[in-house]
């Protein structure tokens, strides 16, 4: 039995990978648990069973390492991501500084979601953050999906979200990409836990994800391949 | 009050139907338990909807199912005093009293609060909450509350049956005085014929949900005399009185009756049980009873082993009950002369 604790934003890609992996290992029993990275990390800290942890937030990976649930050398980067700005097709914005003229911009809450932190860094670099924040024009959402929801429903004029999430948009369109040098690289760390390390199946699955077949699935979902 | 009623209503198994047309100020409603008296009250007050029918009060149509007329309870001006006072627990006595008053058009209001409160002896209670009132006080508050709303018709649904004997005696005089005084026509429901006799002259009879006609209260009372423990209760209206030693002599028609001082000295209505009257063939001597009246036997009414003797005492009627043996021994027959002996303590003031 293989237990996965996966950040909810990677649900589709992981489910797809599990299906593909099952073709190779028809008898594998794989139980996946999807939630926010923080919740997953705390669950593991409380002793909840998990063999493989995929986090959207490197901080939570550091947390489980610090808790001695994961060996430092087990941490791999599974995928990376990019940030884009979405909004209604009529919004006139081609670069970050254009956001200064836009009424409301949604980002994920920088405190609780890594996406928020990346967006915050980008806006800071562009010199917009404090102005938007103090003018009350910055709408902080729970997570990227919620920021996208706001943009999709037209509640905000633009939202800074992951490129992978932008694919879910129905009405909002991608206005432009956020230059990657404006924020830390967006990385999805993955690690086998101490229990997972001992399971051959877990190791096999980890290797499957890092191998070509697995990486292709992630690429298809919009996650940029790690080099 | 002129009340015209023609109502039909089916409640589960119970079929209610009444059609009558009655005029008067003091009408009773009489019938065994479950005969539909309260149902009639609810219909008249607009708390229940008939299947079919109409109600016309003093020419004003309160309800007519054929014409689609339905006046809601608050616009009927029909007041109800329920068996259990149903006072508002969140209001003081004063605000309970004023509840209806404030909702009555100024030109309809008949009586000011102070007058009603005085008449019903409620003045000391006005600022109290209603939780700590005694049963009799509650009932008086309920009555005053209904009176202050100056209804065109007041319905009293067994207002006294929750009370014990002592309280009843305390309230009936109030009730009678208040209702007379404030000239509000009323329908009175009671199980006790004596209560009924004190407060009404005629009554609507009900049986199993059906109206059975209008009857004279005294008539019914006499017919039932044998069922009562005390036989028949005579009601005597006594006039002015004077002191006679330690006793009080009241005017009664052309003669006088000696009554114990305890019953007070004002004119009023007195009760005298028929079995408290002793009959003698000849004038007895030196006896403890204070009243000795010469009378003629007007009628003999046999009932259930006893004989009711209707007497004519100088023009006033009086009913005595004697056992059959006594009637024979005294050779009672219509027209015979007898002496009626009554103790001074046998009288009880009703009002």
């Amino acid at each position: 039995e293989l237990r996965l604790s996966v950040n909810a934003s990677m649900r589709e890609a992981v489910l797809e990978s599990v299906r593909a992996f099952r073709n190779l290992h028809p008898d594998a029993v794989i139980v996946s648990n999807f939630a926010a990275s923080g919740a997953l990390a705390r669950q593991m800290a409380a002793g909840a069973p998990a063999d493989l942890f995929i986090s959207a937030n490197p901080e939570w990976m550091d947390f489980v390492v610090a808790q001695s649930l994961v060996a430092t050398d087990q941490v791999y980067i599974l995928a990376t991501n990019r940030q884009v700005v979405v909004g209604s097709a009529t919004t006139a914005a081609g670069q970050l500084t254009d956001l200064a003229d836009i009424t409301r911009i949604a980002i994920a809450s920088p405190e609780s979601a890594p996406a928020g932190r990346y967006a915050q860094q980008a806006l800071r670099q562009a010199g917009l953050y404090d102005e938007l924040r103090s003018a009350g024009r910055l709408i902080l959402a729970r997570d990227v999906r919620q920021a996208l929801l706001y943009a999709d429903r037209g509640e905000v004029d633009a939202a800074i979200i992951y490129a992978t999430d932008a694919r879910l948009a129905r009405r909002a369109v991608i206005l432009f990409e956020v230059p990657q040098e404006l924020h830390e690289p967006i990385r999805y760390p993955m690690a086998l836990t101490l229990t997972g390390q001992k399971k051959a199946l877990a190791v096999a699955f980890r290797d499957f994800l890092l191998a070509e077949a697995g990486q292709a699935i992630f690429a298809a979902q919009g996650f940029v391949l790690t080099d | 009050m002129q009340l015209e009623v023609d109502l039909k209503l089916q409640l589960g198994d119970f079929a209610f139907s009444a059609a009558f047309d009655v005029t008067g100020r003091q009408i009773g409603i009489f019938g065994p338990s479950g005969s539909g008296k309260s149902t009639l009250v609810n219909l008249l007050a607009g708390l229940l909807h008939p299947d079919r029918g109409r109600i016309v009060l003093n020419g004003r149509c309160l309800q007519d199912t054929d014409a689609g007329i339905f006046l809601p309870p608050e616009r009927r001006r029909v007041g109800v005093v329920f068996q259990h006072a149903h006072l508002f627990p969140h209001l003081s006595v004063r605000n309970n009293l004023l509840y209806g008053y404030r909702r009555t058009r100024p030109w309809h209001r008949k009586l000011p609060l102070p007058e009603v409160a005085r008449a019903l002896d409620l003045e000391p209670l006005l600022e109290r909450g209603v939780a700590c009132l005694s049963g009799g006080e509650r009932q008086r508050v309920a009555l005053a509350r209904a009176l202050l709303a100056a209804p065109e018709l007041l319905i009293l649904d067994e207002p006294l049956s929750a009370l014990d004997h002592g309280l009843k005696e305390q309230i009936i005089p109030f009730l009678r005085k208040a209702l007379r005084r404030f000239e509000i026509p009323y329908l009175y429901i009671a199980h006790s014929l004596n209560e009924m006799r004190l407060l009404t002259n005629r009554m609507l009879l009900f049986k199993k949900g059906t109206f059975h006609g209008l009857a004279d209260v005294e008539q019914v009372a006499r017919e039932r005399m044998s069922r009562c423990d005390f036989g028949y209760l005579n009601h005597l209206q006594l006039g002015e009185s004077r002191e006679v030693g330690d006793l009080q002599a009241f005017r009664w028609g052309r003669t006088e009756l000696i009554v114990s001082r305890r019953e007070g000295s004002e004119p009023g209505l007195f009760e005298l049980a028929s079995k408290d009257i002793l009959l003698f063939k000849r004038h007895p001597e030196a006896l403890s009873a204070r009243n000795l009246l010469e009378a003629t036997v007007a009628e003999l009414v046999p009932c259930d082993g006893m004989i009711g003797v209707v007497l004519d005492c100088a023009g006033e009627g009086l009913v005595a009950t004697v056992v059959k043996e006594a009637a024979a021994e005294l050779e009672l027959r219509q027209g015979s002369r007898v002496f009626a002996v009554i103790k001074a303590v046998a009288f009880r003031r009703l009002l």
Partner: protein
């Protein structure tokens, strides 16, 4: 041990304001709905009962989503309000509305339980004394429902203090503007090492709810005709092992 950031104070103050406003807002609505459910003979009563229960049955997130659909710029009510220059979404008003809606079923249930205890004869008496139905509602049913309304208020207030799912969707999680205590706690709990501050905020929230609970008990005692009309609480002793010790 308890250290608070300025944003925490804002969250505390906002939470208190939102919970108060929400429970006061939901009070009249809850009263009206309870009245409909207890006294009216609407044909769709069972349906209404189910509708009132919806915010309890649905995950708060769904409630928030539906509210967003209704109140957002594209929503019909939001569009209408926008024409008057009123914006609801992403303001503390949205938090109030979300909390109120979530607290509604609790408020209605509490008031219903109280209303069902009112002696119907009192209502009849009031009608025969010349009070129309709305008059009776205001002068008899309302005051006699006060104790259960207070119980409902304290329930709705407590539920408000803990409301997260619906609020974060319609109001956003904007520190100082819409970030109530649960939202701030969420932020802290999603930061490694934020436990202590999350816990501190929880404690504050508990103290606040506790104060309201005590206040409502006090108010209940003051308006508690229900108990004073009876033998009094002393006779509750019958269920104790020994009456006074």
């Amino acid at each position: 041990m308890l250290e608070f950031a300025p944003a925490d104070y804002q969250a505390l103050w906002l939470s208190a304001r939102v919970a108060t406003a929400a429970s006061l807002l939901v009070l009249p609505v809850g009263f009206a709905l309870a009245w409909l459910l207890v006294f009216s003979r609407l044909p769709g009563k069972a349906l209404l009962d189910g509708l009132v229960n919806l915010p309890l049955v649905l995950p708060p997130v769904v409630v928030g989503y539906l509210l967003l659909l209704l109140l957002g710029r594209q929503g019909w009510l939001g569009g209408l309000l926008a024409r008057f220059g009123i914006q609801v979404v992403f303001t503390w008003r949205a938090a109030v509305i979300a909390s109120a809606l979530i607290g509604l079923p609790l408020m209605v249930r509490a008031i219903r339980l109280g209303m069902e205890q009112i002696d119907p004869h009192l209502l009849q008496a009031s009608r025969t004394l010349g009070a129309a139905w709305y008059d009776t509602l205001l002068t008899v049913v309302l005051p006699l429902s006060l104790p259960s309304m207070i119980a409902g208020l304290s329930l709705a207030f407590a539920r408000s203090l803990g409301e997260f799912g619906a609020t974060i969707i319609v109001a956003g999680n904007i520190p100082g503007i819409t970030q109530t205590i649960p939202l701030a706690i969420y932020d802290y709990s999603n930061t490694p090492g934020g436990e202590a501050r999350a816990l501190a905020l929880c404690l504050v929230s508990i103290v606040l709810s506790y104060v309201v609970l005590l206040l409502s008990e006090l108010a209940l005692r003051r308006f508690g005709w229900g108990t004073s009309r009876r033998q009094g609480s002393g006779s509750r002793a019958a269920l104790r092992k020994s009456p006074s010790s």
